[in-house]
């Protein structure tokens, strides 16, 4: 299978790359529109800050390239946030607008509400073939300070301060706020499911 990883300035791709290699897949890391368009699957992972990442994508017209992809696409962490309509990060940034959600920052209500949300949290309301074989309450690994509220594209929720979108899906676009590549056997199963969609 031909898997492409979107190359951009918030791409922490090492662990995604390692996971795919354990599956026997050698992904190609690219910002080339043609290579991205013809891949069987596209991964859009990342860790970083939304406004700088959006600027980078727009400068290279990768925003249009990503929006026009027709094969299954999986955004991870900041990838999910960038696929939403808008993010409050960096003073407010218009994002790719694939999902009809606005990304906002966690607002702690008490001292135990730590931000960033870092660690393992349980997945609920699983409603997608992406989660085939995954049980309600299984844990995934999250690291983030901003989140997408529950919206009509939500296919999994989790709870930290509020209940929010752990994963989103619209048409061929999928995204997880958590890091499947760091979520043990649960995460590997989710990535395998994505490759089999």
């Amino acid at each position: 299978m031909n898997v492409a990883i979107v190359k951009y300035n918030a791409g922490n791709i090492k662990s995604v790359d390692n996971t795919l290699r354990r599956f026997g897949i050698a992904p190609v890391l690219t910002d080339n529109a043609e290579l991205l368009a013809k891949a069987d699957r596209v991964l859009f992972p990342g860790q970083g800050e939304a406004s700088g990442a959006m600027r980078y994508l727009k400068e290279r017209r990768l925003d249009e390239v990503i929006r026009n992809l027709r094969q299954p696409v999986l955004g991870i962490c900041i990838g999910q946030q960038l696929m939403c309509r808008h993010s409050d990060e960096g003073g407010g940034t218009d994002c790719l607008g694939i999902f009809d959600a606005d990304v906002i920052r966690f607002a702690p209500r008490k001292h135990e509400d730590k931000v960033p949300a870092m660690g393992w949290n349980s997945l609920h309301g699983l409603a997608s073939p992406l989660f085939a074989g995954i049980s309600d309450g299984e844990f995934a690994y999250f690291v983030h300070s901003y989140y997408a509220p529950v919206c009509e594209s939500t296919i999994a929720t989790t709870e930290h301060i509020v209940s929010y979108s752990a994963a989103l899906n619209k048409d061929n676009f999928y995204a997880t706020q958590f890091h499947p590549e760091k979520s043990g056997s649960t995460g590997e199963k989710i990535l395998k499911n994505f490759l089999e969609l």
Binding site: K14, S15, N18, T19, R21, R22, Q47, G48, E49, P108, H111, K114, V115, P116, A117, M118, G119, W120, N121, S122, F139, Y141, F142, V143, E159, H160, H179, E181, K182, S183, G184, S185, G187, E188
Partner: protein, 252 residues
């Protein structure tokens, strides 16, 4: 339910092999870091920490190679530390595939290192490790693996590290480390109740109850241990089942 409390085995690595010190001396060999890490991951460890205790330049190169091997094989987050003196060390280890780095003496000597790491890679990669010993009612921070005492106090330094951009505090009580009579729960609670970033308890685990107490009395977000896991005294699966029974939110 929210975020689960984390159980973190810590592996000291020297020349590509794991070792564990008791009270920072008396090293005993305990195996291959990659194999051990995989075994812990399978057993339910939530994260792993690998500390490079090699001092030499050659040793540090070996460690980066070990980190690359670990990253290729392990599917849970892991932190690496030991011998990190400057941003270039952080860069090398993150590029090798580590998820986070733990800084200790270098940060205490040059606190700006924490700002630099947070600005460059984000707070989430920066764990500030603090070794402290309770002496005459004061928690003194120590340098160089507990060999050199400073006048910095635990809470004050932890707060500064947080303000500079550390994403987590890993607090080791030198009074409790290796003694196996429980974590420094009072000091932990003081840290956890003051800081807004997660606190990892370290030093003193001997029984399952000690983990429970670190969470319920010490308010820690995660608990680290080494020898009780390495020598099979506590099985991580059993530990988590026990914690769950004690109504602590853990990943099973």
């Amino acid at each position: 339910m929210g975020l689960a409390k984390r159980i973190i085995p810590c592996l000291d690595v020297k020349d590509g092999q794991t070792v564990k010190g008791t009270n920072f001396v008396n090293l005993r060999k305990a195996g291959d870091p990659v194999e051990l890490g995989k075994a812990y991951s399978k057993a339910g460890a939530d994260e792993l920490i690998f500390l490079d205790i090699t001092a030499s330049h050659e040793g540090r190169k070996t460690f980066a190679e070990t980190v690359t091997r670990i990253a290729a094989e392990i599917n849970i987050p892991f932190t690496v530390g030991g011998g990190i003196n400057e941003l270039a060390d952080v860069e090398r280890l993150l590029y090798a595939g580590a998820d986070k780095v733990s800084v200790n003496s270098a940060a205490l000597r040059s606190p700006g290192l924490i700002d630099d790491i947070a600005r460059r890679f984000g707070s989430q990669v920066c764990v500030c490790a603090i070794d402290a010993r309770l002496e005459d009612g004061q928690w003194h921070c120590y340098l160089n693996g507990g060999r050199l005492r400073t006048e910095r106090k635990l809470l004050e330094w932890a707060k500064e590290a947080q303000d500079r951009g550390a994403g987590e505090i890993l607090f080791t009580s030198m009074n409790h480390d290796g003694v196996k009579e429980g974590y420094a729960n009072e000091a932990l609670a003081m840290l956890a109740d003051t800081l807004s970033i997660p606190v990892i308890a370290s030093g003193g685990a001997g029984k399952k109850e000690h983990f429970r107490d670190a969470f319920t009395i010490g308010h820690a977000d995660a608990a680290l241990a080494a020898s009780v896991f390495h020598f099979g005294e506590i099985d991580i699966r059993e530990l988590k089942a026990y914690l769950k029974e004690e109504n602590i939110n853990v990943r099973i």
